[in-house]
C-alpha cells in the first residue's frame, strides 16, 4: 500500500511538474497595440484587425503552406461551426463554440485542454470567442453565463449569470477585457426585451454595472418612444464585441434592432438606443455619447457591426475617428470624442431612405417599411454587412467589408394594434456578394471584388505585408493584395471560412489561422 501511495504521489508530482513545465510563460499583452500575437477578439482594442506582421507579404505569400489543422469533434447540441476568432496568447490559441472552449498549441495544433460547459439550453447560432486576462479565459454560454476558466488547467474558476434565458436572452458575444472589467454583451431578438452591456469583476465574476439600451423614463431620449412600456421592451441587443480607446477611456459598441422587429407601428419614433453606436465610460457604465445609424429600424438591421477606431486625417485635420459599415448599407465616419457624424454615405445598394438628418442619421422612408402587401427593400434582412468582422489598413487607408447588394420583400404578418415579437418577416431574395474596399475618409470605392457566386461571408484580416485575408462565398481562404485587390494566394478548405482570420508570429515564423466549419486551419511561412 505504501508503495502504491508513493507511486501515486510520484505520479501526481510528476504530472504537476509536467504541467508546471508546460505552463506557458505569461506576459501581459498590450491590448491597445497589436504586435506579434492576437490577444483579443479584434486583435487589439481598435477593431482594425490589422497586424503589423509582414514576413508574409505580397512577395512571400505564395510560399504559405499548411502547418496543421484542428477539428472540433464535440457536439452537445451547440453546433460545431467555429465562428469564434481565436486568441493567440503566449503560444496558445483559445477559441470557442457554444458551450465549449479549447486551448490549442499555436505551433502544432495539439489540444492542451477542452472545457465543456453543462448547458441548460439556449440559442446556439454561434459563439464569437473568448477573452484572456492573466491566467483566466472568459466566455459566454448560450444559457446566459459568463464562465471563467483557468488557462493552466482548463477548469472552471467561477461562473456568473448574465441574463435570464426564460426571456430568450442568450450568450454568444466574445467578452472584452477593459482594465478591471470583463465587458459582456447579450444576444436574443426573438422576443421584446431590452438589450444591455454588463461589466463583471475579472476575479470574482461579480456584476459591476449593467447599462440598458434604452433611456431612463423621463429622459429627453425617452421621447423617441411612444411610452415606457414600448421602450422597456424595445430590443437593442449587443451582439458584437466592442472597441476601446484607452486615452479617452471610452468603450464603443453598437446595439441591435428595435422590437417588435418588423412591425414598428406601435413604437413610432427613433427608438433610442436601438440600432445605435454608443460610447460608455467602462468604469461607471454611463453613456457619454451616442450616434444612431438606423433610426426606427423595421428591417432587423442591427448597428452592431464593429465600430473601428481610426486615427486619421480628415480635411487636413488629425482626428480620432470611429468608422462603421452598417448592416443597413450605410457607412458612417464619426468623431469618436463626441459622436458627431463626419460622413454618412451608402456603401451598398439601398433604397430605404429619404435622405440624411442634420445629425447624420439616415431618414427611413415609411413606404419602405414592411407592408401588409409587401415592400421591396434593399438591402435584405441579412444586410449589406453583418457581424463578420471588417478590417482597416492604415497602410492603404482602406476600409474593407464583405458587402452584399441584395433585395427582399418585407411583409407585416401581425397587424395587431399591439404587435409583439417579430410580427412580420422578409421573403425571398436576390443578392450579389463582393469584397469591397473604400477610402475611409470619403466612402468612395477604391476596388471591388465581386465573387463569382453569392453565398456565405467571412471576416477580414489585413497586415503590414499589404495583404488581406478572407474567405470567399464557397470554401476558399484567399489572400489579396490589399492595395489593388488582386488575388495572390488561396487554399481550398472543407467549407466556408466561418470566422475572422488571425495572424501571429512564433519563433520567427508567421502564421495565419482561419476556421472553416468545424476545423481550424493554420498556415505558416517557413
Amino acid at each position: 500500500m505504501k508503495l502504491l501511495i508513493a507511486s501515486l504521489l510520484a505520479l501526481s508530482f510528476s504530472s504537476a511538474t509536467a504541467r508546471a513545465q508546460s505552463k506557458p510563460e505569461t506576459s501581459k499583452p498590450d491590448l491597445a497595440k497589436l504586435t506579434d500575437s492576437w490577444p483579443t477578439y479584434n486583435g487589439d482594442y481598435s477593431g482594425r484587425r490589422y497586424s503589423p506582421l509582414a514576413k508574409i507579404n505580397t512577395t512571400t505569400v505564395k510560399q504559405l503552406s499548411l502547418a496543421w489543422t484542428f477539428r472540433v469533434e464535440t457536439n452537445t447540441g451547440g453546433g460545431k461551426r467555429i465562428s469564434a476568432t481565436p486568441l493567440e496568447v503566449n503560444g496558445i490559441l483559445y477559441f470557442t463554440v457554444p458551450s465549449h472552449m479549447w486551448a490549442v498549441d499555436a505551433r502544432s495544433g495539439r489540444k492542451m485542454w477542452q472545457f465543456d460547459w453543462p448547458s441548460k439550453g439556449g440559442e446556439t447560432i454561434g459563439n464569437r470567442g473568448a477573452a484572456v486576462l492573466g491566467d483566466t479565459a472568459y466566455f459566454e454560454t448560450e444559457d446566459c453565463n459568463l464562465v471563467a476558466v483557468d488557462i493552466n488547467t482548463g477548469r472552471e474558476k467561477w461562473h456568473a449569470s448574465i441574463g435570464n434565458p426564460d426571456q430568450f436572452y442568450f450568450g454568444s458575444v466574445a467578452p472584452v477585457i477593459v482594465k478591471n472589467h470583463v465587458m459582456v454583451g447579450i444576444s436574443g431578438d426573438d422576443f421584446d426585451n431590452p438589450g444591455y452591456i454588463e461589466a463583471h469583476d475579472p476575479e470574482t465574476g461579480a456584476l459591476q454595472w449593467r447599462w440598458y439600451a434604452h433611456p431612463n423614463p423621463g429622459e429627453p431620449e425617452a421621447k423617441t418612444w411612444p411610452n415606457d412600456e414600448a421602450m422597456l421592451h424595445g430590443g437593442g441587443m449587443t451582439w458584437v464585441a466592442g472597441t476601446y480607446d484607452p486615452d479617452l477611456n471610452l468603450y464603443y459598441f453598437g446595439t441591435g434592432n428595435a422590437q417588435p422587429v418588423i412591425n414598428g407601428a406601435a413604437r413610432p419614433g427613433a427608438n433610442l438606443y436601438t440600432s445605435t453606436i454608443c460610447a460608455l465610460n467602462p468604469d461607471t457604465g454611463k453613456l457619454v455619447w451616442y450616434f444612431q445609424p438606423n433610426p426606427h429600424d423595421t428591417h432587423d438591421w442591427d448597428a452592431v457591426q464593429t465600430p473601428v477606431l481610426i486615427d486619421g486625417v480628415v480635411a487636413g485635420q488629425k482626428r480620432k475617428l470611429l468608422a462603421q459599415a452598417s448592416r443597413n448599407g450605410w457607412y458612417f465616419l464619426v468623431d469618436r470624442t463626441n459622436g458627431k457624424a463626419l460622413l454618412s454615405t451608402p456603401f451598398a445598394k439601398q433604397n430605404w431612405t429619404l435622405g440624411v438628418d442634420p445629425k447624420g442619421s439616415p431618414i427611413p422612408n415609411p413606404e419602405k417599411m414592411a407592408q401588409l402587401n409587401g415592400a421591396l427593400v434593399a438591402p435584405n434582412q441579412a444586410g449589406a454587412a453583418n457581424w463578420y468582422p471588417p478590417s482597416f489598413s492604415p497602410l492603404t487607408g482602406l476600409f474593407y467589408v464583405p458587402a452584399y447588394d441584395a433585395y427582399s420583400v418585407y411583409y407585416i404578418y401581425d397587424n395587431n394594434k399591439k404587435p409583439e415579437g417579430w410580427a412580420g418577416n422578409d421573403r425571398g431574395g436576390w443578392s450579389r456578394a463582393s469584397l469591397r474596399a473604400f477610402d475611409y475618409r470619403t466612402g468612395k470605392v477604391r476596388w471591388n471584388h465581386e465573387w463569382p457566386s453569392a453565398g456565405g461571408r467571412s471576416g477580414i484580416l489585413t497586415t503590414a505585408g499589404n495583404l488581406l485575408f478572407t474567405g470567399d462565398t464557397t470554401s476558399n481562404l484567399i489572400a489579396f493584395n490589399a492595395t489593388t485587390g488582386n488575388i495572390l494566394w488561396h487554399a481550398g478548405l472543407s467549407s466556408l471560412v466561418s470566422n475572422g482570420p488571425i495572424t501571429y508570429e512564433l519563433d520567427g515564423l508567421q502564421y495565419v489561422v482561419a476556421a472553416a466549419g468545424d476545423t481550424l486551419y493554420a498556415f505558416v511561412l517557413h
Partner: protein, 261 residues
C-alpha cells in the same frame, strides 16, 4: 453535477415521450395543439376579460406573453405547476384549476408566445391583392416587358391555378431563389486550346468552374490564364427589374397575374 445530469436526462426522457405535432420553437418548448385548444377556452372564459383576447394585456391587467412567470413556465415546460398558486392567491385571482386545466392553460400561453417568435409565423402573406389589375396588365404588356418572354395564353395560361398569390409574387420577383429552380445559370468555358464546353453551372469560384453538359457529363476546369468563362443568368431580365420596380408595380402585377385562371 450528477443531480443536474439526472434532471437533464429526466427532462430529455419526458421530451421524447411528448408528441411534437407543432414545429419545436427555441428553446424547444413544444405544444400539443389539442391541449392548447382546451387551454384557449379556459383562457377565454376566465382570463381574457382582463388580460385581453390575445393575452397581450389591457389597461387593467398586464401582458401575459411578457410575464416572467409565464415565460419561466414555458421554457421549463412546467405545465402550469408554478402558475397554479399565482392563479389561486394572486391579487384579484381565485381560480382553482386542476392539474390538467393548468397544463392546458400553460400550453395555450406557450403556443401564444411561440406564435410571435421569428419562426412562429406562417410565412405566407395574405394581403397581396390590393393592387390594380388593369394597371398590372398594362405593366405586363408595357413597362415591365413581361410579354416579351411570356404569354397569357401560352406559358402563363392558367397560371393562377398553379400558384398561390404569394408564390406568384415571389416567382416573378426572385425566380432564381429557392430550392426548386428549373433553369440553371448557363456557363461556357473556352480553353486556351480553343476547345469550348457549355452546360448548367454546378459550381464556380475564382479558381475553378464545374458544369453539367447536356449529355449529363460532369466537367470541371481550373480557371488558368487564357481560360475564358462566360455565364448567362436565364433570369437576368428579372434581376434588372429589381432596380426599376415601384411597390405599386409589384402589387398591380400580382393582382393581375392572379386573374390568369
Amino acid at each position: 453535477m450528477k443531480k443536474r445530469f439526472l434532471e437533464f436526462a429526466h427532462a430529455t426522457f419526458l421530451l421524447c415521450l411528448i408528441a411534437v405535432p407543432l414545429r419545436a420553437q427555441f428553446p424547444h418548448s413544444t405544444v400539443d395543439p389539442a391541449s392548447a385548444e382546451r387551454g384557449s377556452k379556459s383562457y377565454a372564459s376566465s382570463c381574457a376579460r382582463c388580460h385581453g383576447d390575445d393575452a397581450r394585456g389591457t389597461a387593467t391587467a398586464p401582458d401575459l406573453l411578457r410575464s416572467l412567470a409565464v415565460l419561466h413556465d414555458r421554457r421549463q415546460m412546467l405545465y402550469g405547476k408554478e402558475l397554479g398558486p399565482l392563479l389561486t392567491t394572486g391579487p384579484n385571482h381565485n381560480f382553482k384549476f386542476d392539474e390538467k386545466q393548468l397544463a392546458d392553460l400553460s400550453q395555450f400561453l406557450t403556443a401564444s408566445i411561440n406564435g410571435i417568435l421569428r419562426s412562429g409565423y406562417n410565412a405566407q402573406p395574405t394581403n397581396l391583392l390590393s393592387g390594380d389589375a388593369k394597371a398590372g396588365e398594362a405593366y405586363f404588356n408595357g413597362a415591365g416587358g413581361c410579354s416579351k418572354c411570356h404569354s397569357t395564353t401560352g406559358d402563363f395560361a392558367g397560371l393562377a391555378k398553379r400558384y398561390s398569390p404569394s408564390a406568384l409574387q415571389q416567382k416573378f420577383l426572385f425566380p432564381n431563389y429557392g430550392l426548386f429552380i428549373r433553369r440553371k445559370v448557363q456557363v461556357t468555358v473556352k480553353l486556351p486550346s480553343g476547345k469550348s464546353y457549355s452546360g448548367d453551372l454546378v459550381r464556380i469560384d475564382d479558381f475553378t468552374v464545374a458544369l453539367n453538359e447536356k449529355s449529363g457529363e460532369y466537367r470541371s476546369f481550373n480557371r488558368t490564364a487564357g481560360t475564358i468563362v462566360t455565364t448567362v443568368d436565364p433570369f437576368a431580365a428579372h434581376v434588372a427589374l429589381l432596380d426599376k420596380y415601384t411597390d405599386a408595380d409589384i402589387h398591380n402585377l400580382t393582382t393581375y397575374l392572379v386573374t390568369l385562371k
